[in-house]
Symmetry: C2
């Protein structure tokens, strides 16, 4: 039987048949990932999509100066991967790491292609997921262009309190493109 959480995620946007659900289920693998463990590191070819059942991940790269720059967080019911490496079959620049002890369902690119080959509804689901991510990216760009460091932090605390609670401040700073010191200063000045 397909995992209930994933089924609900899919049913938000698409209506595959029971058969399609079960076929998709057969392509998935359950994994537990410990806090700080990596599911992807620089230089590897990214092979999987990950659906987060429980826990929290971050994807980041390390710049020339050795500083971590976070591109994305992922929490329950989100998909996380490096699309660039996955679709272009090239080595990734990214690290994807568990921030908490986590549980995921993972699926290889090949199996994903299989699932997408004959199901309109699965194509619809992943199309809509990609469009949602696109919207999130656009909003993020909008914020980063439009707001000062302080405003970004304030906005984020309002809109995503669940992230602020569970993610260390220095990771949030990295996600906003700020230094932890500066974010700490912002916080101090109310």
């Amino acid at each position: 039987m397909i995992n209930k959480q994933l089924k609900n995620s899919i049913l938000q946007f698409a209506t595959p048949s029971d058969e399609t659900f079960e076929e998709f289920n057969d392509l998935l693998e359950y994994r537990e990932i410990n806090k700080k463990e990596f599911i992807l590191t620089k230089g590897q070819n990214c092979k999987h999509h990950y659906f987060i059942l429980k826990g929290c991940f971050r994807s980041f790269f390390i710049n020339e100066k050795g500083t971590e720059k976070i591109l994305n967080f992922g929490i329950e019911n989100w998909w996380i991967t490096d699309y660039d490496s996955l679709t272009n079959l090239c080595p990734t620049n990214l690290y994807i790491q568990a921030i908490e002890n986590s549980q995921v369902l993972c699926i290889t690119k090949e199996n994903m292609d299989k699932a997408l080959n004959h199901s309109l509804e699965m194509n619809r689901y992943f199309r809509i997921i990609a469009e949602k991510v696109r919207i999130a990216d656009q909003r993020r760009m909008y914020y980063m262009f439009n707001l000062s460091g302080k405003e970004i932090y304030t906005m984020f605390c309002e809109k995503f309190p669940e992230f602020v609670q569970r993610i260390p401040l220095y990771m949030l700073a990295s996600y906003f493109g700020l230094t932890p010191e500066f974010l700490s200063k912002i916080r101090g000045n109310g």
Copy 2:
């Protein structure tokens, strides 16, 4: 008959039947847009996807200080729209404007939904398009985090010379999140 350019774009990623192509064609409208003309302005609900046959567009917003901030450019064979406003049926914050005299094929959200309702291949095409955009966004984020103003400009000139030729410098500056003055200085110092 469906437009050749659009057909080729679709065939890159999907293989709809001739019938599906023709059905899709019936949902499209051809429009010519003059340089500086807007196809979307702040406050409107975005109603269309636009496929660019010829010309060049920019999507931007105007911040509190009255400065234009460019989120994206679009050229031949790209789709452009405000996905956020379109899918969430809310007023847009963006302007989409022709940078050159242009020709587009446009399709309403309703017609797009129709096309996507019964064609696996069209779902596949738009899924892959969304994934490509996602990758482009991620790369952009990567550059903006990792590179100085000068490095961004140099990289962009190398990777997208066709944009640098046809788009005014002050618009590129806005796209990079820099001021035109600073970009001009960068350029001057070789």
